[in-house]
Symmetry: C2
């Protein structure tokens, strides 16, 4: 068709006004007479001009309207996790008023391919559980003055953090079990580190994932000797495998299992059923997260309800505050203990 796309100057010329007037017609930042507006609009239509080029606008304004969300893992694993999904929703809601959208970024992206923290036109960045993120690129981003917020992870002490009282919450659930008379408790943990394959956690096992370590600590605060089996991920099927392992030998079968996520707990319940154990009469099961586990009815987990969407929203608000020139403080969210029908007094003897 045309050799070159129309610009706002072309439109202005066609409409017989100055470029700035035309600009104002599109941005609406200044009153414009109806007549001019009409003329500009018509000229735009005639030239097939569809509005300011976002690239140029963002250079000029110094804002791109894009917030990067950096995940540690493959997107698949990120979005399969209901907690992260909820969080993303909260985040999306919170950045929408800024007129911003979310750009999906992967940690460890093979350099050169794909956008990275340093090459994407970001106004701000939210890191989700990124422990492995290269210090270097993080520093680069912050040096550029781009606000950074971390959810469940550690990125250095001067980066605002959205946290959760994992240890205290898990301790609460453990106490609840102890009050019910349980003494023999097993733990089904989240992965100990990236790439972890399922297995028992020994004394020497290094646990690099914060959430896992903190929740484990909370359980051990109350049951120091509880054995812990770490799954390969937060899935029902993983919980099932862990549960089978735990209920395997008749020797020293626990009367309660504390799972570090609701999905794992759901799997543990399945395993218990398989083993002919009734929940909660023969074995109590607790979860963590407080999500709705699709298909788990009629069980209603005893669990720690975490404000997942709120965490995302808080991250978004922190970003907004920093973008506004303010500072954002770290926030620590609190889980709510919810007693469902999967825990009961320890069976006698």
């Amino acid at each position: 068709m045309s050799t070159r796309r129309a610009t706002i100057s072309d439109v202005a010329r066609e409409a017989g006004v100055s470029p700035s007037t035309a600009s104002v017609v599109f941005s609406g930042k200044t009153p414009v007479s109806d007549a001019t507006r009409r003329r500009v609009r018509d000229a735009a239509a005639a030239l097939g001009y569809t509005g300011p080029d976002p690239r140029a606008a963002s250079l000029r304004r110094g804002r791109s309207g894009i917030v990067g969300v950096v995940f540690e893992e493959h997107l698949r694993t990120a979005f399969l996790d209901p907690v992260k999904t909820l969080m993303m929703d909260g985040l999306a809601d919170a950045v929408a008023p800024l007129g911003a959208g979310l750009l999906l970024l992967r940690d460890h992206e093979p350099a050169g391919s794909g956008p990275s923290l340093t090459t994407a036109p970001l106004d701000a960045a939210v890191l989700v559980g990124c422990s492995g993120l290269l210090r270097e690129s993080l520093d680069a981003v912050r040096a550029r003055g781009i606000p950074v917020v971390v959810i469940e992870g550690d990125a250095g002490h001067d980066v605002p953090r959205i946290g959760l009282d994992n240890r205290e919450a898990q301790r609460h659930a453990a106490s609840h079990l102890r009050t019910l008379g349980h003494r023999d408790v097993a733990i089904v943990a989240l992965p100990a580190r990236a790439g972890w394959e399922r297995g028992w956690l020994g004394d020497g096992t290094a646990i690099t994932i914060d959430v896992t370590r903190e929740r484990l600590a909370g359980a051990l605060d109350v049951f120091p000797d509880a054995p812990a089996y770490a799954a390969a991920g937060s899935f029902i099927d993983e919980g099932l495998l862990a549960g089978r392992e735990i209920f395997a030998g008749p020797a020293r079968r626990p009367t309660a299992v504390m799972a570090q996520s609701d999905l794992l707990a759901a799997g543990v319940i399945r395993a218990a059923e398989e083993a002919g154990l009734r929940v909660p009469e023969d074995v109590s099961v607790t979860g963590f997260d407080g999500i709705v586990v699709d298909g788990l009815a009629p069980y209603e987990l005893t669990t720690l309800v975490q404000p997942a969407a709120d965490k995302g929203r808080a991250a978004g608000e922190a970003v907004a505050a920093m973008l506004d020139g303010g500072v954002a403080a770290s926030i620590n969210f609190t889980c709510t203990f919810h007693e469902g029908n999967t825990t009961a007094p320890a069976p006698a003897g």
Copy 2:
């Protein structure tokens, strides 16, 4: 600290070279002597310059490295669907070589808040099942020369489409059931339209969601009189509710249920168990999608396996082709029939 962020010109001046040389040091597009490179790098470090500003670079190059993904729904519902998650992964893989990332966009975003197809600095856009997307903004995007691809949806005849043989595939499953002797079949459908609340589909019910309509047609091709109950979403719990409805009265209990998604099928199986029916002895159940339903073991669904990740990848490749100046053709993917252990010959009598 400093009143202004350092630019590449500052770095060049500090290093005693021209801006273009400094630029080349960072882009690597042209050979540079080691000595110069060193000087520039050192100058950058001294000034705290962390690399070219992506906003300016994208204006200059005419590329932002961002591909927009437009969802019809709230992100939550998008990511809760395993098929979409897989698709996103395929898409992410396919655009990574372009150096591009994915920007999450919502259809129907309340104008003004949030980024939209027209205001975000996109190189290309992928629409996911967007039937409702405003014709207008779509046209605007295309007018701007931004490539658009549609996955499972219709955006007009000259927009490349990534499709699926929904009708044929579902018909295949239906034929399989008929071959097994089933005559009395019920259908559990996906929602008929956005905002749909669960309920039976009558003759007059308008079905605006393509996938639902196509899969339904495939089933009706073989069982024209099969009653269909449309769920409010693709969830196990929704399948459970639908299943209860279907197995409710003892009157005319179907010998087979065709669900339009694996998650719905899983719920139907639960409902059957609740009603004291054995699967597949008393009632056969088929799904659609071929995802792994977490927690469904030991059942293995008879289902249509769709190449979800491939669809995403194909969309990404189509985008890449168009960005390269070429044209992309529509592609129709084919489902594979997979016989699991949830279908069996119709019970006698």
